[in-house]
Amino acid sequence: MSFLELQNITKIYPNGTKAVNETSLNIENGEFIVFVGPSGCGKSTLLRMIAGLEDITNGEISLDGNIINKIDPSERDVAMVFQNYALYPHMSVFNNMAYGLKNRGISKEEINNKVNDVAKLLEIDQLLTRKPSMLSGGQRQRVAMGRAIVRNPKIFLFDEPLSNLDAKLRNQMRLEIKRLQRQMGVTSIFVTHDQTEAMTLGDRIVVINNGVVEQVGTPKEIYSKPNTKFVAEFIGSPQMNLFNCKIENGIAHIADRKINLNNSTNIDDASLGIRPDDILISDNGQHTCVANLVEYLGSDMIIYSKIGDQEFSCKLSSKINLNAGDTFKFDISTTLVHLFDNTTGLRV
């Protein structure tokens, strides 16, 4: 039995919207799980159901062997960091962190010790007497985490906690969250729509779309072997190129091009996917295209081109001399190609 088990969880809102549909998931103790998906895909709803802030329409959640469907959020022993931090505006930083402990009837001395320890760990020990309104965004973020850590819960839940920070601070906090989670070894679930956050933080990633889990796996698995067309498109930057094509006897027809896949598949309506950095540019490549647009990114550059009327991009080192309007030659290696059936959206 896993530490946290979700069995056929369904959430239907009173207005009939199905936010989460028949989701099952097993999470082991100490794992860092990331829920990733586009806005409105149900990832936050799922997290809130684990926290107990949202009723479960159907299914069962069990934590540490106990079914917690009907257990009050305060007794589930979970801590949550909210997107807008939800600090208590009228309480000092110290009281913000101590409030949960006070409600558990812990002695004053112990509260003092715990809060001070956590404040030192997060480097906010100078701020304990301040009110949240006197803190910067990054400091508030730390206090929000401190409030979760000090309770020493069974699970940490993060609901897009980095989305209100600027880019630099976000990277810094991301590393810090990762470091703290490793250090404390507490099972954590992190919700985000940012794939970089998902890839860097998660031990395992759960890709969710339209209330359905598309794929669960390590960042590497998700990136190198996407199970569905949605995952292929969603993970990776720049986006994976997907060509609509017809495959006959292992040969993909894209517009007037033919790509030999070295197998004997037959699909009428397929998508052939290749990541922009897997397109191999070489002077004696099989295919020739015109670069319509070149985006210079420092060490790399991205070339936008077309096969027939289907756009694609490739990413290559900016040391290569190539300008908009030039023709270039490339190869598509069959080992790096991802094939999806368009009718089911599944990997072939």
């Binding site: 926290a51 107990g52 802030l53 009050d72 959020p73 305060s74 007794e75 979970v78 801590a79 949550m80 909210f82 997107q83 807008n84 939800a86 600090l87 208590y88 505006p89 009228h90 409030y99 949960g100 409600n103 558990r104 009110k131 309104s133 409030r147 309770r151």
Partner: protein
């Protein structure tokens, strides 16, 4: 240069406004420090006289009313009890009503709210007979409870608190829930401190409202022992300077309350910034 001109004009206009407000009060105050004889012969006075202590202490401690059963001091006490009672009870009832309406899954909460709100259309003057009958059946005529209770639920205050609670983000409640709070603790630990400034505003408003009541205490009291300041103003027979002194003193309690709570009000605003 234009900045100074506009500043001068602003100050000029403000000064005129201030004078229009202050001068009549000052004249009443200055006149109240002269003897009645002096005012009757010389008219209203702009400068202070030397009968201040004599006049004010006479007014405060003189037995007055139709049966000479009450002093001005007792009237101040009555008014203070009534106004404070109304203010405190209005704050408490409207805080709790708004809490119930916003935070509990009450069916038809909006309908209930509008029913409360509609009572604004039925002011005390309109329901004064039924209110009196209820109070007299409860044997509350000539008591403070009778003076206070019928006007101690405020729809407008409920409305203010409700709107304020609705503006508090849900995450706050959710975070507090995960921190193990219950409904009563949330009310005491969160909503009351967060609405401190609002409470101060409603308190001022309802205190002045209660202090200014005239018709209701007039009907509810047959004993002079329960006369209030506003009733006293109407029935204060005496020399002109005594009446002026009483008018000046009658302004003091609301002014004190406003000055005292304004501090809290401003403090609250700065804290939230």
């Amino acid at each position: 240069m234009t900045k100074y001109i506009s500043l001068t004009i602003n100050h000029f206009i403000l000064s005129i406004g201030l004078l229009v407000m202050i001068v009549p009060i000052w004249i009443i105050f200055a006149s109240s420090t002269h003897s009645s004889l002096f005012i009757n012969t010389n008219g209203l006075q702009f400068f202070l006289g030397d009968n201040f202590i004599e006049n004010y202490s006479r007014v405060l401690f003189k037995q007055s009313g139709f049966f000479n059963e009450i002093t001005a001091l007792k009237m101040f006490f009555n008014s203070f009890v009534m106004a404070t009672g109304i203010a405190i009870l209005s704050v408490v009832t409207s805080l709790m009503a708004a809490y119930g309406l916003v935070y509990f899954k009450v069916k038809y909460a909006t309908v209930i709210f509008w029913l409360i709100f509609i009572t604004l259309l039925v002011p005390l003057e309109l329901r004064i007979m039924p209110s009196y009958i209820v109070m007299s059946k409860l044997n509350l005529v000539n008591t403070f409870a009778g003076l206070i209770l019928p006007i101690s639920a405020s729809a407008i205050a409920t409305f203010f608190f409700r709107q304020f609670y609705k503006s508090i983000p849900d995450e706050l409640l959710e975070a507090a829930k995960l921190d193990g709070t219950n409904s009563l603790r949330f009310f005491i630990d969160f909503l009351i401190p967060l609405s401190k400034t609002m409470i101060a505003a409603v308190f001022i408003f309802m205190f002045v409202f209660g202090y200014n009541q005239y018709l209701w205490p007039l009907i509810m009291t047959t004993s002079e022992q329960y006369w209030t300041v506003v009733m006293g103003l109407k029935t204060m027979y005496g020399s002109i300077s005594d009446r002026f002194a009483f008018v000046i003193m009658s302004m003091i309690p609301p002014v004190i309350i406003i000055i005292f709570l304004q501090k809290l009000f401003i403090q609250g605003i700065f804290q939230n910034k």
